[in-house]
């Protein structure tokens, strides 16, 4: 534990000095606000609209379908690496896993998730 004392002291000193500067500046300093002074300094142009704009909700459906296949891949890749050692049991287990995921995909398809209306 004792070797960390130095880091702890540094944290306390850094926090103390930074805090003291902010507190002293705001309490002792002279305040004479003008609109120019209150404007955001060096922060670029004022935004005209929200950065994202409006996004159609259908993209969320696409994102969820993407996750379905993404999860599949996360497991398929390590499985493929050790495929030979697992043998038939490994193949059957992966079949069950893919089958369950495909049930979800079929459900989405069945309910029109793939129709871009």
């Amino acid at each position: 534990m004792s070797e960390y004392i130095g880091i702890f002291v540094m944290f306390v000193l850094a926090g103390g000095i930074a805090g003291a500067m902010v507190v002293l500046g705001s309490t002792l300093g002279k305040k004479n606000p003008t609109p120019e002074k209150l404007a955001p300094f060096e922060c670029g142009m004022e935004p005209f609209a929200l950065p994202m704009g409006k996004l159609t909700v259908k993209f969320y459906l696409t994102a969820i379908l993407f996750i379905l296949f993404d999860v599949e891949l996360v497991f398929l890749y390590p499985w493929a690496v050790v495929y030979r050692d697992l043998g038939f049991v490994g193949l059957a287990e992966m079949g069950v896993f893919l089958g369950v995921l495909m049930v979800g995909f079929v459900y989405a398809w069945d309910n029109g998730a793939l129709d871009w209306r």
Partner: protein, 473 residues
């Protein structure tokens, strides 16, 4: 490590039945939208799962999946209880699914998967499997609470439940990781062995681990101070979902907590006991007192369920197998009496949701009022109902372990809560009706009410009936 064998899968037969039914229902979801097929399939699957759990479980405990899952008497008890909860909820849902625009197949799939998670949590002997099971329950729970998409209150409740639920999952996971750091194991036997070898003396890291695990699990059973989500979630959800969460989710949480207290952290039972005493005492006091001013029936039952979570914890306080078996008895009776009370609320529809709706119910529907009275008496713990037998065993267990003050507190708060429940009885029997008589209950709802009432009565008249099955791990 070998692959999964058939013997492993046989241990999970009840869960596999539920998952299989859920998968078939998902595939057929679009075709069975307007028929009670999904409800029937769910009830059949629940009965089959209960029968398989009761029949297939061997006398001795059998572990599988490399020591992640165990099939013993403890798991069997909770699996049958959870299957019963699932079946009764599916029956109760018949009415509210008619009224609200809820996709039927999807609703039942979520119920089935939540029940699977509960069963998994009951038979897990590894902290990560336990977490997996509980997380399956809460994930389905979030969706079930928010399934009435056209009602803003339902969405709000789902968001609240989700935010607090993920926070609690974080607590539990952090506790699990600290436990792994201290003991180098996630399986219960390994944790217990490592803890038993440690030299005496308190370790702040171990205290933090125990506190975090207890806190994460206390959220699942809605024990004070981890209860804030329950009233809002129950009120926003439709009444059958609220009943399912209040009973099934709580039973699963208790099952998980019982195994963790008794098996995994058995060598540290005294530390765990202190935390449980605080949780139990606070839950009983807050649950009973805050239920007093409620005017919304679901909120009232939510606070009642918080108080009951406290009572159930009284059994764990002792940290002995007898205490755990007392809590199991409590969980069993609690599930049926609470589901019964929720069932009457469901059957009365809109009218059942506010306390004023119960004015003069006895004059209009004497049978419904009598059933409600039975469940209320049981919730209050008045003989000869199951609620009395349940409270008796847990308070006795607390007294035997030397927690007399806690037991006195529990009895005192029991009196306070009796006032809460009897207020509804007074409204039903001694006031003039203000609303029109409710329509006839659907057959499914009546059948489920009858089952709940039967267990509540048998549990009260012959309390030993279920005690033989309530064996601690």
């Amino acid at each position: 490590m070998n692959g999964v064998t058939i013997a492993d899968l046989l241990l999970l037969i009840p869960e596999l039945v539920l998952v299989g039914t859920a998968l078939v229902l998902i595939l057929l979801a679009r075709r069975i939208r307007n028929a009670p097929v999904a409800a029937t399939a769910t009830v059949v699957a629940a009965v089959a799962a209960a029968a398989l759990a009761a029949w297939a479980a061997p006398g001795a405990a059998e572990t599988g999946f490399g020591g992640l899952i165990v099939a013993d008497g403890y798991a069997r008890f909770f699996k049958v209880l959870i299957a019963a909860t699932l079946a009764l909820t599916a029956l109760f849902s018949a009415k509210s699914l008619e009224d609200a625009r809820i996709p039927r197949a999807e609703y039942h799939v979520l119920l089935l998967l939540a029940a699977t998670g509960m069963m998994l949590a009951a038979s897990a002997v590894d902290l990560l499997t336990l977490y997996l099971g509980l997380e399956l329950v809460t994930l389905c729970g979030y969706t079930l609470v928010g399934i009435r998409v056209d009602r803003p209150a339902s969405n709000e409740a789902a968001i609240k439940y989700f935010l607090l639920g993920s926070f609690a999952s974080g607590l539990l996971l952090y506790g699990i990781s600290l436990t792994y750091g201290i003991t180098g194991a996630t399986d219960f036997a390994g944790i217990a062995a490592a803890l038993a070898q440690r030299d005496a003396g308190s370790d702040p890291l171990l205290l933090a681990a125990i506190g975090l695990v207890a806190g994460g699990l206390a959220f699942k059973i809605a024990a004070v101070p981890f209860h804030a989500w329950a009233p809002d979630a129950y009120q926003g959800a439709s009444a059958p979902v609220a009943g399912f969460l209040a009973t099934g989710s709580k039973a699963a949480g208790l099952a998980a907590l019982g195994r963790v207290v008794l098996v995994a952290f058995g060598p540290e039972a005294h530390t765990f006991s202190v935390i449980l005493v605080v949780l139990a005492g606070l839950s009983i006091v807050v649950g009973s007192l805050v239920a007093l001013p409620q005017t919304d029936m679901t909120r009232l039952l939510a606070y009642s369920s918080i108080a009951h979570a406290g009572f159930a914890l009284l059994g764990f306080v002792a940290g002995t197998p007898e205490g755990v078996s007392a809590t199991m008895t409590y969980a069993c009776f609690y599930v049926f009496m609470t589901l019964g009370a929720f069932g009457v609320v469901i059957a009365l529809g809109e009218r059942g949701e506010s306390l004023d709706g119960y004015r003069g119910l006895a004059a209009q529907r004497p049978m419904a009022a009598a059933l409600m009275l039975l469940f209320l008496l049981s919730l209050a713990g008045i003989p000869p109902t199951a609620g009395f037998a349940a409270k008796f065993v847990v308070i006795l267990s607390a007294v035997r372990s030397g927690h007399v003050v806690l037991a006195v507190l529990a009895v005192a708060c029991s009196v306070v809560s009796a006032f809460v429940y009897m207020r509804i009885a007074v409204l039903m029997y001694m006031r003039e009706p203000q609303a029109a008589a409710p329509e006839r209950f659907p057959f499914a709802v009546s059948a489920a009410l009858a089952v709940a009432a039967l267990v509540t009565l048998i549990g009260g008249l012959i309390p030993g009936t279920f005690a033989a099955w309530a064996v601690a791990p």
